[in-house]
Amino acid sequence: MLYMDPLLFLLIVLLISVAAGLLGAILGLGGGVIVVPALTLLLHVDIHFAIGASIVSVIATSSGAASAYVREKLTNIRIGMFLEIATTIGAVTGAMLAVLVQASLLFLIFGTVLILIVIPMVKRIGEEVPAKSEGDMLSRSLKLEGHYYDTVLKRDVEYRADRTPLGFGMMYFAGLTSALLGVGSGPFKVLAMDLAMRLPMKVSSTTSNFMIGVTAAASAGIYFLRGDVNPFVAAPVALGALLGALVGARWLPKVKSSMVRKIFALVLVGVAIQMIVRGLTVGI
């Protein structure tokens, strides 16, 4: 650890977290992709504290942005609540498995999976909104559908979830990775809704945003009791991420869906590389 004035440290962490909250709110991620490498590489903070802080960043970003998205009806509460069954089961089983499995191997596996997933994502990179699907038995029975007013397209966009069981399965892995690795919950959620369930990008990112806080809360207690949540690091992260998320939530409606998808694909590659690097370097 380099010596640094404590106030300067708090200020730098606050600014990093504003960026994380901003990006996270727009993409449906928790901001761990920024918080973890910035804290460990730039500020030489221990990885345990970085992951503990990233869990806090996820909850702050999620709750901060979701309060706006839910009111604007971008978030689909039904789809989010239904899929939360899968993510919370994933998070709880992940927390139980955490002592048994080797994290480095998991990082390599999930990093590689993410890289492979980027390919179908890039193929649809220019798409604004998908056509409303017929749905499947589950999505019709549970009313996993809705509409939102797209301020960019200036029209109402109707949608219905497709291939719900596949999306539900992917959500289980989103919860699992979040609990096992402390990262990856958001990216897998957005992908499950965008690629598997064919929901509009803004619905996927805001519904992911709505869900990640619950997934993180399911495993937050473990990190807290283990002493990984250091208030000196977590306090500026929480405040910064909240501020960033509030601003980001105001931006998203004005951004084109295809642009959100482009930034998301880019960040996804970043997450995948981080996971693979963490898998290759010893110890977590």
Partner: protein, 146 residues
């Protein structure tokens, strides 16, 4: 179960009708949860900076504050509700910050509980079951970790 399968027009109307209440209430739960925890965390940070003291073993020494050692973590900051409460009684800045962090973590859980209540008021049985299931899994996860 399943009485509305194959009648998407009906169910679409249903989701529209039930849409307004739940969105407003959940939005409020999230907003106030976030505001309240941000205020408490900020109070803790102000207390920490003005007193120049964490209230725990490391004082305000950045090197000690950022040293990771799970064996002695509880000497440097609170790691459970009991130590947070006892720290609050002596107004330790880290205990105030941690209270805010716990409130922040509790916000999404409150949101799930509130969703279950509203689905209940709207007599949406399937979603009462879904929301209660999520809440049960969440609480199970928290209890097993404690």
């Amino acid at each position: 179960m399943g009485e509305k399968i194959g009648k998407p027009s009906n169910s679409k109307k249903g989701s529209d009708d039930s849409g307004h209440g739940i969105e407003v209430v959940l939005s409020l739960v999230l907003r106030w949860g976030v505001i309240a925890s941000a205020i408490v965390i900020l109070l803790g940070v102000v207390l920490m900076i003005t007193s120049g003291e964490s209230g725990y073993g490391a004082g305000f020494d950045i090197v000690k504050l950022l040293q990771y050692n799970s064996e002695v973590a509880e000497m440097l900051y609170p790691t459970n509700l009991q130590t947070i409460l006892s720290g609050l009684l002596s107004l330790k800045s880290f205990a105030v910050i941690d209270l805010g962090l716990v409130m922040l973590i509790a916000t999404p859980i409150m949101r799930v509980a509130m969703a279950a209540v509203i689905f209940g008021i709207e007599r949406d049985k399937k979603y009462v079951v879904i929301a209660s299931l999520v809440l049960a899994i969440l609480l199970l996860g928290i209890l097993t970790s404690a």
